[in-house]
Amino acid sequence: MSETDSLRSDLLEAMNFLGAMAAGLEEALGDPSKSISYLAGEKLGLQFSSGANRVDDLQDALQEVSSILYKNHCLWAFEPFKKKSEKEMVHLSQEGEEIMLVFRDCMIRQSLFCYGHPQKGSLCNMMFGFFSGALKNITGYSSRLEIVHAGENACYKRLTLFRKQNPLPA
């Protein structure tokens, strides 16, 4: 078996196991299961980004998150998105800064689809946790990643960086 085949099969097994666990937790606990996977994702985000550079610009910070994911072999490819009619990627909101993100290759979506588990569940919340943890280390602010649309081939999410709150201690 080639190295890629073996990595792929390990990832598939791990993700399917997580998918089944998350589906079971959702059934047993309901909504609180989302907090559990959020915290697991946040811990991972904080851990992976512990040595990351502190960056102020939101788009640069996302670039940093992207390279952290890549370095840690996480299949979570995403890109910033703006509509043709919009001038800027980053918008100011009451809470801080907002940017829309498109997630294409996502190991969570792909493992959910393997067994027909629904999207937008607790495992998807793990991604919110991961971003939250990583962006805390990189920007010093808390953030929220909302699922605007979960599609078959891509998901559309809104990331808010809470710049209007006090920065978190370094």
Partner: protein, 83 residues
């Protein structure tokens, strides 16, 4: 860049594509009772519209296709050559 097209003669006017699209790629032509592409460039290639369209009248081109997981490793290996 993703390109979206609606086969006008197939459209039943159900509006499902208009309602599901997260980036408002479609608009509804009331007099004609048909959906139209408003801004193809805004499409993120989620494919929800073509999945839902009851007439399978929506087609996309130039969109990134995700690399799916396969249970069968032999099949997975064959697919690997094209990734």
């Amino acid at each position: 860049m993703v390109h979206v097209e609606i086969n006008e003669s197939g459209c039943r006017g159900c509006r499902m594509c208009v309602d599901i699209c997260p980036t408002e790629v479609f608009e509804f032509d009331e007099p004609a009772r048909k959906a139209r592409v408003r801004e193809s460039e805004d499409c993120i290639g989620c494919l929800s519209c073509s999945y839902l369209c009851p007439s399978k009248s929506i087609t996309h081109s130039d969109f990134p296709v995700v690399k799916n997981f396969y249970r069968d490793l032999q099949f997975c290996r064959k697919k690997e050559a094209f990734l």
